[in-house]
């Protein structure tokens, strides 16, 4: 059966291995005289032709495919190079039609399902199915430049920044009780599988954010219009620039959103965002822990090397503990990874009055406190009107829903009331 293209485009192709057969080879590996490899997948047949998907594949990735380390679909959705739709005619004199496909034109209708893997053996090969579950997404991080792999540090930082962006999108949709959780990663390609709660609701927003960053000269107005958390977007953009990577995010195995922004444009976009967002505050920087004595207790326990449990600070849930750790971080008393820092060690040595004074000063200089002061046109905490907290968050933290802003405002109001009298020089 003549299934290979009649065109000089791919060189002299030969079938090297047939993975699936059905009335002829339907999924196979073909190689040309120069050693270039293609994975070929059958899409359709009409009265005069077969239609195929061709994706070129590097040798090392072919090994991963044959060892079931990457999915069959990865070859097309995350290709090493271009993907082609190839129409081979039964009439051997007719020249094959070849059309390059961009990733966003690849749909479920022409792709292998997202749960198929290949298991190659000497004589017979097979595909097998690993069922996927709802809410599974994939974060694909790849280098800006060709085949160079991104560094481990870039992968870690970008994943972290993306997780914060996703969290901010969930908050925006008032879905803030769950977090994105890594499931596993596929070797050699940094495709991280994530359990992403509410992916259906969150995906359109992530797609919009990526589109705006890819296309808009000045992304700030459009991002603000859709209510994106500018701080979370800046954070991701910084890591993308620093790691020199592109990021693709999608529901498992479907091309949906790619942040593919040239280095120069990313730098200028980031500068524009920073300039215009100085009075905007990211929701991730707004504390939600009313009781300052519990915040101090967290720092004290950390200084003794103790593990913080809900019980140890008289709370009931781990989520509440997370809020108090966050509050201690926002005052600079714990470092980013919740470990105690030198400021925290000094802090626990102070008496209560001094602690309140230092907390007042550190709140003023925190991202949230500083934005509140600037928005109110005041210079100290004592001058702030505690009742302005809600309006401040609604106006300056657009990624928070009204309900959440009102809830968070309670913390700001309480902190201002508790700390104001201790704000002496």
């Amino acid at each position: 059966m003549s299934v290979l293209p009649n065109s000089p485009y791919f060189g002299n192709l030969e079938i090297s291995h047939i993975y699936e057969y059905y009335d002829g080879p339907r999924l196979f590996h073909a190689v040309n005289g120069a050693g270039n490899s293609y994975i070929v997948f059958w899409i359709d047949t009409d009265d005069v032709s077969d239609i195929w998907l061709y994706s070129s594949i590097r040798q090392e990735r072919l090994v991963l495919l044959n060892d079931s380390k990457i999915k069959l679909r990865d070859v097309y959705v995350y290709p090493d190079d271009l993907v082609f739709q190839v129409r081979t005619f039964f009439d051997l004199d007719r020249i094959t039609e070849i059309q390059a496909l961009s990733p966003n034109t690849l749909s479920d209708e022409i792709l292998p399902p997202g749960d198929f893997f290949i298991e190659k053996s000497e004589n017979l090969s097979d595909t097998f199915v690993v069922p996927s579950t709802e809410n599974v997404s994939e974060l694909y991080i790849r280098s800006m430049k060709g085949r160079k792999k991104p560094s481990l540090s870039a992968v870690a930082k970008v994943s972290d920044a993306f997780s914060l962006l996703y969290k901010s999108v969930m908050k925006q949709l008032d879905l803030n009780h769950k977090v994105i959780v890594p499931l596993d990663a596929r070797t050699g390609s940094f495709i991280l599988r994530l359990n992403s709660p509410n992916i259906k609701e969150c995906m359109p927003l992530v797609t919009d954010i990526f589109k705006i960053l890819n296309q808009e000269e000045n992304p700030f107005p459009a991002l603000q219009q859709i209510g994106a958390d500018i701080g979370a977007v800046e954070n991701l953009l910084e890591e993308v620039i620093d790691g020199k990577v592109k990021v693709q995010f999608s529901k498992e195995g479907v091309f949906e959103a790619e942040l593919n922004i040239a280095q120069e444009k990313a730098v200028s976009s980031l500068a524009l965002l920073k300039e215009q967002s100085s009075s905007i505050i990211s929701s991730s920087l707004v504390p939600q822990a009313n009781d300052l004595s519990k915040v101090f207790k967290v720092v004290e326990l950390k200084s003794k090397g103790e593990f913080i449990t809900p019980n140890s600070i008289d709370l009931t849930t781990d989520r509440q503990v997370a809020y108090y750790l966050h509050a201690a971080r926002s005052l600079g008393l714990l470092s980013k990874n919740n470990s105690i820092n030198s400021v925290g060690y000094q802090f626990v040595e102070l008496d209560e009055k001094q602690k309140m004074n230092i907390a007042a000063i550190r709140f003023e200089s925190s991202d949230c406190g500083w934005a509140w002061l600037k928005w109110s046109n005041k210079s100290t905490l004592a001058e702030l009107d505690p009742d302005s907290a809600t309006d401040f968050l609604i106006e300056q933290c657009p990624s928070l829903s009204k309900d959440t802003a009102e809830r968070r405002a309670k913390t700001l109001k309480k902190w201002q009331k508790d700390l104001a009298e201790f704000r002496f020089s």
């Binding site: 059966m1 059905y22 399902p113 595909t127």
Partner: protein, 134 residues
Amino acid sequence: MYRMNNVVAEWPDFYPDNTPPQEATPTNGQSFRLVDSNPPTRDDFRSTIEETPHRNFRDEMTKICACGTSQFGKLEDIQKKRKLFPKLRNKLIAEGQLEPAHGKMLNTFEPSHHTVWYRLTAQPQFNFSVLENI
């Protein structure tokens, strides 16, 4: 299109020599086939060569195989094939018992995949029924 082949059996006249191949055995046992109609029709059991008569074949063996019909011995294998390829995703799965009078069969390419060469007079559709809700 068909002719009387010899005194022993009737094979379609488009079969080349050595078709079915010597190693093929009389059709027998449980088999699954992807079909378009419910109940299945004779057209659902056409060979590759009948389905796409304009197709060319590079060698004799592939042409011999194309004179047959692709069927499977295991339900999970045919389900997987249907799910994998877009062209097959709307097809129905029919299950039936092959009988020696239908023709000859040979395991080809994959463990439960078999090529069936139907005799001119074979009416396999009457032995097959579509599996509902699969």
